[in-house]
């Protein structure tokens, strides 16, 4: 029945809801601003040496990046489903969805390790040139975000093992979910900038 998946956020102006808490949004918007600076610097530097950047970019396996993007997007879907499950008191389903999201993240992590190993064994490191400095630095910082995200997801899953979730618990889950989606959205832009730019 469709009502099992109630739309979580009310659109009635009187009942607008901050997902999680204000604090996480200060962090999210701040982090997005930091990454915006990264994005700007990368594109500006690319514009100064497009041929060099394009040549370096050509060593990437775009499939790695595309699969990774799909993994994080799917992880986000699982996290949304987990939050909806929590709201209808189906903690067991929430735990399953959080585990599935964690697996998506883990595969992304594994993929990244394989990709880095592939680069390094071909002599491509952050010291190679500007493109690879940006590539390793930005995907590396993002990977740190992802690892934190995995710890968060595991914590949320443990939380959902409790027989009863308080309102504070639910807010914590929303905070964790919001953080997870940040990890996803940052990668979406990184994929476009690092793997797909041409001309």
């Amino acid at each position: 029945m469709p009502e099992l998946l109630t739309t979580p956020a009310p659109t009635d102006p009187e009942r607008r809801h901050v997902p999680g808490e204000y604090g996480i949004w200060v962090f999210i918007l701040g982090d997005m601003t930091l990454f915006a600076a990264f994005f700007g610097v990368f594109v500006r530097d690319r514009a100064r040496q497009p041929a060099a950047f394009t040549e370096s970019q050509a060593t990437l396996h775009i499939a790695f990046g595309a699969v990774n993007t799909c993994l994080l997007l799917t992880g986000s879907l699982f996290v949304v489903w987990a939050v909806q499950a929590v709201r209808r008191d189906d903690n067991a389903a929430a735990r399953r969805f959080l585990a599935a999201a964690w697996v998506c993240a883990a595969v992304f992590g594994l993929d990244k390790v394989l990709e880095y190993a592939d680069k390094v064994t071909h002599g491509l490191t952050p010291a190679t040139n500007d493109y690879f400095m940006y590539f390793f630095m930005f995907t590396g910082i993002h990977a740190l975000h992802l690892v934190i995200g995995m710890v968060v997801l595991a914590h949320l899953r443990r939380l959902c093992a409790r027989p009863v979730l308080t309102a504070a618990n639910v807010r914590t889950i929303e905070v964790g979910a919001s953080y997870w989606h940040l990890v996803d959205l940052l990668w979406v832009v990184l994929f476009a900038l690092l793997y797909l730019m041409a001309g």
Partner: protein
Amino acid sequence: MRVYLRHPVTVVWALLMVATVVSWLLGTHHGTSARAATVLVLVIAFVKVQLVGGHFMELRGAPRPLKALFTGWVVVVCAVVTGLFLAG
């Protein structure tokens, strides 16, 4: 299961996956119009971010100032990144 498949969030996810594949194709098969393909790739990326924010992060139901800050970031960063690319 059908309920999950028809739910708006699942539809958004499917759109995001399609957009990812489209971007992948644009990034690898841009032919002579590499600059146009890249602009499209960049815009698609930020549209995806907006979708993640609106539907996954539940900003559609959030207080307007928060929505505005997020959407503002999307619009400004997209414009700056695309502008820097085109200016090069």
